[in-house]
């Protein structure tokens, strides 16, 4: 009886407490980051968890004005506003190209019967299962050969493939869609492209939106790819890495770096708040609900 009580009541309570502690541990750094970002460096070092004596919102302006990254052999300075511009071009460009190319290939494979369809589907599955390790040196060499190294547009072009989870999600979604609307459109004289862009893809707009947002966030937060492939175009995450590891900036103290972290996080956080229901409601590894 006692064992059953522990089983039914104590364990759920225990895991509930674990979840509460875990969620607080996730929220705490964000709150701490905000409070630290509006303090002066001296008071932060003396008392890291102290309340701001004076709310220094000018730290945000200073971060924009003074935090920079030196790029290239000439040591050209890129400030935060430039990093934001690079991030937007990189994240939007890669997300649009990546989602569109995965979407159209999945549509073709799911809805048309042609010889290559099975090959493409098998390729997508096999490349997901088979782990290939350590091919970055050859990737860099190929990019250099093609003139795409250290080129933001080159990286955007590179993002248009068709392997990965996004392909399987789109494939599953298109497979579940009826072909009757398309047939009716063909009878009315619609072309294949019209059917794809005006009839089939609009039916998957939820999946397209969720995949676009997740890809966008992933690219916004990515610092390793810009670091490896386009070092002359620092993104905001790459910049934060540089602020932390190379303290050559005039104001690269803790509160200013915390302010830069807040600036980098806020756009994504707002995006998440706007689309949180769609993003969380549709997220699963076994497929996305259309």
């Amino acid at each position: 009886m006692v064992k059953e009580k522990i089983y039914r009541q104590v364990f759920p309570m225990l895991f509930f407490v674990i979840l509460v502690i875990y969620c607080i541990s996730l929220l705490f750094p964000l709150i701490w980051m905000f409070f630290s970002s509006v303090r002066d460096n001296m008071s932060f070092v003396q008392s890291p968890f102290g309340w701001p004596e004076e709310w220094l919102f000018k730290n945000y302006g200073d971060a924009f004005q003074y935090l920079y990254v030196e790029v290239g052999s000439t040591g050209q300075r890129v400030y935060m506003i430039g990093m934001f511009a690079n991030t937007i071009v990189y994240a939007v460009g890669c997300s649009v190209v990546s989602v569109l190319s995965h979407c159209v290939v999945a549509y073709a494979v799911a809805k048309y019967k042609f010889r290559l369809a099975k090959v493409l589907y098998t390729t997508a599955i096999v490349t997901m299962i088979l782990p290939i390790v350590g091919n970055m040196p050859s990737t860099l060499e190929i990019l250099r050969l093609l003139g795409l190294y250290d080129n933001i547009w080159g990286l955007i072009l590179k993002s248009g493939g068709f392997t990965g989870v996004a392909f399987l999600i789109f494939y599953g979604t298109f497979k579940s869609l009826s072909w009757e609307y398309a047939e009716a459109a063909f009878i009315d004289g619609a072309s294949h492209a019209t059917v794809m862009f005006r009839i089939m893809i609009p039916q998957t707009r939820n999946v397209v939106l969720v995949l676009f947002l997740t890809t966008f966030i992933q690219h916004w937060n990515d610092y390793t790819t810009p670091l490896l492939i386009m070092p002359s175009y620092p993104t905001i995450s790459f910049g934060l890495y540089q602020f932390m590891n190379n303290n050559f900036n005039a104001v690269s103290d803790s509160p200013h770096i915390m302010a830069a972290c807040m600036i980098a996080t806020l756009p994504i956080f707002l995006l998440f708040l706007i689309f949180k229901d769609k993003m969380m409601g549709n997220m699963s590894i076994g497929g996305l609900k259309g």
């Binding site: 039914r8 759920p12 509930f16 674990i18 979840l19 875990y22 996730l26 750094p29 964000l30 701490w32 980051m33 630290s36 890291p48 968890f49 159209v104 073709a108 048309y112 042609f114 290559l116 493409l120 390729t123 997901m128 299962i129 088979l130 782990p131 290939i132 390790v133 350590g134 091919n135 970055m136 040196p137 050859s138 060499e141 190929i142 248009g160 493939g161 068709f162 392997t163 004289g189 072309s191 916004w220 937060n221 610092y223 390793t224 670091l227 490896l228 995450s237 934060l240 890495y241 803790s254 915390m258 980098a264 996080t265 956080f269 998440f272 993003m279 969380m280 997220m283 590894i285 609900k289």
Partner: protein, 353 residues
């Protein structure tokens, strides 16, 4: 008389004019009919062409040409080049001003060098141990993730609030979290320890004994949330009628987890376990974000070791060695991955919903 003659001449002219006009209008009408027929035929031809195999082939070509080309260049060509790299070496002054890649005099030289480093290089000895520890800890965390996901899925109080918080690690940049965590360990923790009577700063990131555990704690802390969201997403797809029938049979919450939920989410668990094998060789555990290229040897993982060989304008003379290391890791990872997949599919619960 003259007047009659004039009238006759005018009548003849007007008749002639009438005939010419009629002929021209007939000819114009014929021409318009012919043009109409021709354009109509063209339109019909175009319409039938749309549904023909040729139009479909054209469409498929246009749609597939770019993604397939990207795949061929950045997957096939890259991996073939990677294999070739493994048998080459960089020679200064060959193939250009600075140097170029030439075939290694000992074809297996890079592999031998790496295997020898694996046994003697302290960084790789620690990397082997640490990579396996990270993988094992990931497996240990899995049941905790599943149970927490199950509780969120079962709509415990504040389930939706939990979900929002648990999503945070997925949206906030890892570099931001690393910065905050580093500041917390360097500045925040010593102040907290003062309240417990410990006045000396433990300097956990500078101590070779503690640097890897601190990084592990960070990685485990963030991994919990990401996977909970994915698990709850899959659990939400389980049919309500199945759970209702279980409840009617007097099934407890834990029995529901064990007999219904886990078998039904097993494909997702399989995905994590199968893809996790590659993680042994690719997971750099955010070491680059924490330390750049200067991590202590005690904290090395295989992923970090491979990453710093190409990161931050690393010399290209290292590329053949890095490719050989990658090829060896792949040769180990592929059979293990396939074996794990086979075992899980063969002996794991087989349920569909």
């Amino acid at each position: 008389m003259k007047k009659n003659k004039i009238e006759e001449r005018e009548g003849w002219l007007s008749r002639l004019w009438g005939r010419v006009r009629m002929r021209v209008s007939d000819w114009c009408y014929d021409l318009s009919v012919r043009i109409h027929q021709k354009t109509r035929r063209k339109k019909e031809k175009r319409r039938t062409l749309r549904h023909s195999a040729r139009a479909q082939s054209r469409f498929l070509f246009c749609v597939l040409v770019y993604p397939v080309t990207v795949f061929i260049i950045f997957y096939l060509v890259v991996n073939v080049r990677s294999i070739l790299f493994a048998f080459q070496q960089y020679e200064w002054g060959v193939g250009g001003q600075s140097g170029g890649f030439v075939w290694n005099t000992d074809p297996l030289g890079n592999f031998k060098d790496f295997l020898s480093a694996l046994a003697t290089d302290q960084r790789l000895i620690f990397a082997t141990k640490n990579s396996l520890i990270l993988y094992a800890l990931g497996l240990v965390m899995m049941p905790l993730q599943i149970i927490c996901s199950f509780l969120v899925y079962k709509k415990i109080p504040f389930a939706n609030t939990f979900k929002v918080f648990l999503f945070l690690p997925s949206i906030i940049s890892s570099i931001v979290m690393v910065i905050v965590y580093r500041y917390f360990i360097n500045f925040g923790l010593p102040e907290l320890l003062v309240h417990f009577g410990i006045t000396e700063n433990p300097r956990l990131f500078d101590n070779v004994e503690t640097v890897f555990p601190v990084v592990v704690v960070y990685n485990l802390w963030l991994s919990l949330g990401t996977n909970i969201i994915l698990y709850t997403g899959v659990m939400a797809r389980i049919s309500d009628s199945l759970i209702e029938s279980g409840k009617l049979d007097g099934m407890s919450m834990w029995e529901e987890l064990w007999y219904i939920t886990i078998p039904l989410i097993f494909p997702t668990i399989t995905v994590f376990l199968v893809t996790g094998v590659a993680g042994i060789f690719t997971n750099q555990a955010n070491l680059y974000a924490f330390f750049g290229k200067n991590a202590s040897a005690n904290a090395y993982t295989f992923g970090y070791y491979l990453f710093i060989m190409v990161a931050d304008e690393a010399p290209i003379s290292e590329y053949p060695f890095a490719s050989a290391a990658g090829l060896l890791f792949t040769a180990v990872a592929v059979p293990i991955t396939l074996l794990v997949k086979y075992v899980l599919e063969k002996f794991g619960p087989n349920a569909e919903y």
